[in-house]
């Protein structure tokens, strides 16, 4: 039975289901309990599940992740919230030195089924540190898996799949899309859901492949819609999983279209686009009509709210890149 709900609400529903289905799931983070989270993602959960399952933590990101490690060793499945992308850095040590490595260090004896939820990306007119895109720092770290949803239906299924996975997962949520609505079947059986680490063709096309994830999927789809009016038929792929990346779907697409354009908010230099471009160049070399292009944030600290629209990749920049691709 499908409902039209926002992405934020879809996450809320998904988290509720995980709390219902597994007594070992606990949610922890700053303001997640009584307040329901600064984006209301955990709204109502503490009331229904108690404050020993939905925990308001001290203001200490390293502490959130570090104690989650201990809880996971104890057998719990912590779902940690980092309130904003720009505040994950104090926890970075625990995430990359401990969460990512524990399974490997213990030769498979100690699992840490931790989910670290992080609202990310810009476009909300915020002050500093609230619009970052740090996904590359985590995707680059072996031992972590990294995923991101772009729409409510994926948000609902992916958060549950992440919580159920024994891998440690960094779950990026596109905060500017929290209030965008979409159809979600709340009664759907998770077993039949689209695989967590698979990419998805969000729009089939023939002329070029746009690769996007998180908040940029909508941007890419809008660009494709505009391009259709000009007679260009663009394919849009929602990566969904940033580590591992589902390359098979991507290669198949680029081999059909011969052109690839990656779109992400994060600064271009050494971002995910660079990895995608390198791999596509290698695996689709004979099929490429043009080099893989990237439309990304500039290599500057994220700018002030009044100019952020100029910084973020938008429909025009994406279509300009498509035009450039056809110029080769």
């Amino acid at each position: 039975m499908s409902e039209i709900i926002t992405l934020g609400k879809a996450l809320n529903h998904g988290l509720r289901r995980t709390l219902e289905q597994n007594a070992k799931v606990i949610i922890m983070g700053e303001d997640v309990g009584k307040l329901g989270g600064v984006f209301r993602i955990t709204d109502g959960l503490q009331k229904d599940f108690g404050d020993d399952r939905v925990i308001d933590t001290p203001l200490a990101e390293a502490g959130i992740i570090g104690t989650a490690v201990g809880l996971a060793i104890r057998g719990y499945r912590p779902v940690c919230e980092i309130q904003f992308d720009g505040f994950v850095y104090p926890a970075y040590n625990q995430i990359v030195a401990q969460v990512a490595k524990m399974f490997y260090r213990s030769k498979g004896h100690v699992r840490l089924p931790i989910v670290i939820r992080i609202p990310f990306g810009g476009g909300i007119g915020a002050v500093e540190h609230h619009s970052e895109s740090p996904e590359a720092y985590f995707a680059h770290t072996p031992g972590l898996k990294v995923v991101t949803c772009s729409n409510p239906a994926d948000a609902y299924s992916m958060i549950q799949q992440a919580v159920n996975s024994d891998d440690p997962i960094v779950f990026f949520e596109p905060k500017r899309r929290y209030w965008e609505k979409g159809e979600v079947d709340l009664a759907a059986d998770l077993a039949g859901a689209y695989p967590l680490h698979a990419s998805r063709i969000a729009r089939a096309g023939t002329d070029a492949t746009l690769l996007a994830y998180g908040p940029m999927v909508r941007t890419a789809l809008d660009a494709a819609a505009a391009a259709a009016e000009d007679g260009r038929n663009l394919e849009v792929i929602d990566l969904r999983s940033l580590s591992p990346v589902d390359y098979d779907t991507i290669y198949a697409s680029v081999r059909r279209t011969g052109r690839a354009i990656v779109v992400h908010e994060a600064p271009g230099n050494i971002g995910l686009g660079a990895e995608l471009a390198a791999r596509i160049s290698e695996q689709c070399f004979y099929y490429l009509q043009a080099p893989v292009l990237r439309v990304t944030g500039y290599d500057i600290p994220y700018p002030a709210a009044r100019v952020e629209e100029e910084y973020l990749p938008d429909l025009d920049r994406v279509l300009d890149a498509v035009d450039r691709s056809f110029g080769w």
């Binding site: 081999r255 059909r256 011969g258 290698e282 695996q283 070399f285 004979y286 099929y287 490429l288 080099p291």
Partner: protein, 473 residues
């Protein structure tokens, strides 16, 4: 700005990554001029003399003759302002030899630090660190692969691994049957530049991709015969992506002539690559003379002159095979055809009795012929009766070709681009102006010996016009 400048080994062409220093032409302390040749370097392709980038005094030579140096590595230091007094003595110290760099011993000198303490020697030839075994000495040797002598030295060529090392599965060479055209990006560019539709070419590369050779092959086929796309070529049938051009006019005539010639006269093509530096110099001299003051001179002029003079020496090349009368008709007059590409197609207008023209008259005739041809106003009479043709493929940037005889002619000369190239000149490698002549001839009339002698004469003339002229007169 440092007054002592270090000159690094430049990229000597086509992405070569290293070169061997053959000989230094200067020594430390020599005063040199800008562009003075200072060192001879051999690359995988040729030996090259390198001119100095700055004038000054040679203060340091980094690598001795016989050393292989990487592109970008400094090879000589030049004090560009020697009059400014003595140099500060802060130049870098002695350069380690390649061998010592390759096998750097990290362990410190004996007695420097107690064994086992940080910085001191540790077991296994390592150096002690706080947190582990410590770094160990490495050698610049590849691990042996089966079938190679174990312990091969660094100077031995690297053994070929029996299995390809890591990476994406090697693309199988399969014929491409449908779908997108596969080609490496440089090949796509080549095809585009040459106006070739990749989709019409059968690829012989991995995964059925079109290779550079495939493109050139397709071009050559188009030039010599009606192109027949073979089975296995692109099966992309999309009428909306096809353009239909009616065959008529010049194109039709040219095609008919090509067929008639190509399939009647047995064509043989011979090539000669020559150093035409002196021809270029001669042209410069001529330009300076009052006789040629206001007339445009080009290398084609001297090529034409060469043909005319050599034809006198070998009249048989200027003849016709007459099947009807079962005769070879040798002509004394040379109606020189110059192939010209026009909007309407290829035409070969002629200069009648060109052998009787003075050099200046010849120049004028050539200029007006080309101009008229380009304007599309060549009269029909000018397009018949040719006895010998020259086709200048050099203007297209092409080195050479295998030209097809215009009907009724027994020889045609293709004259390619003139490029600066390394050449053995007086026993040394120099950059000279080099071009390739290609002579196609009808083997019923002209045999190999005659063709070769004629071609050699052309070569002799263009290599040394003044000398040849005098010798032949």
């Amino acid at each position: 700005m440092s007054r002592v400048k270090e000159f690094t080994l430049p990229d000597l062409g086509e992405g070569l990554t290293e070169g061997e220093i053959l000989a230094w032409l200067v020594k430390v302390g020599d005063t040199i001029e800008l562009n003075q040749l200072i060192v001879e370097v051999e690359t995988a392709k040729a030996a090259v003399e390198i001119p100095a980038k700055w004038a000054g005094v040679v203060t340091r030579i980094f690598h001795e003759a016989g050393t292989t140096v990487e592109v970008g590595a400094p090879i000589v230091a030049i004090d560009t302002d020697p009059s400014a007094g003595p140099l500060p003595s802060d130049l870098p110290g002695p350069v380690p030899s390649a061998e010592s760099l390759a096998a750097v011993e990290i362990a410190p000198a004996e007695g420097a630090v107690e064994p086992g303490l940080i910085g001191g020697p540790a077991p296994g030839g390592r150096t002690a660190v706080l947190v582990g075994y410590g770094p160990k000495t490495t050698t610049a040797k590849r691990r042996p692969r089966p079938g190679t002598p174990a312990g091969a030295t660094t100077t031995a060529p690297p053994p070929t691994p029996p299995r390809a090392p890591v990476t994406p599965p090697a693309p199988a060479v399969t014929a491409r049957t449908s779908g997108p055209v596969l080609a490496k990006p440089p090949v796509r560019k080549l095809a585009r530049d040459l106006g070739v539709d990749l989709g019409t070419i059968t690829g012989t590369g991995p995964l059925g991709s079109v290779t550079r050779d495939d493109v050139h092959q397709a071009l050559a086929t188009v030039a010599e015969a009606p192109a027949v796309t073979t089975a296995g070529a692109a099966a992309v049938f999309d009428a909306s992506r096809e353009q239909r051009i009616t065959v008529k006019g010049v194109r039709k005539l040219t095609a008919e002539n090509m067929v008639a010639s190509a399939f009647t006269a047995p064509h043989v093509t011979e090539f000669l690559t020559i150093d035409v530096t002196r021809t270029m110099k001669t042209l410069e001299k001529l330009k300076a003379r009052r006789e040629f003051r206001d007339v445009r001179l080009s290398p084609l002029l001297l090529v034409a002159k060469a043909v005319l003079l050599a034809a006198k020496r070998h009249p048989m090349v200027n003849s016709t095979w007459s099947a009807a009368t079962n005769e070879i008709v040798v002509k004394e007059y040379v109606n020189l055809g110059i192939a010209a590409a026009t909007e309407r197609g290829l035409i070969v207008p002629t200069i009648k009795d060109a052998g009787r023209l003075t050099l200046r008259e010849l120049a004028e005739a050539l200029n007006s012929l080309v101009q008229v041809a380009k304007s599309g106003k060549t009269p029909p009479s000018a397009m018949t009766g040719g006895t010998f043709s020259i086709t200048n493929v050099g203007v297209f940037g092409v080195d050479s070709g295998t030209p097809i005889l215009p009907p009724g002619e027994s020889a045609i000369l293709a004259f390619g681009a003139i490029r600066p190239m390394p050449w053995v000149h007086k026993g040394k490698i120099k950059i000279r102006q080099v071009t390739t002549l290609a002579l196609s001839f009808d083997h019923r009339v002209i045999d190999g010996e005659l063709g070769s002698k004629f071609l050699r004469d052309l070569g002799d003339f263009l290599t040394d016009p003044e000398g040849a002229l005098l010798s032949w007169s």
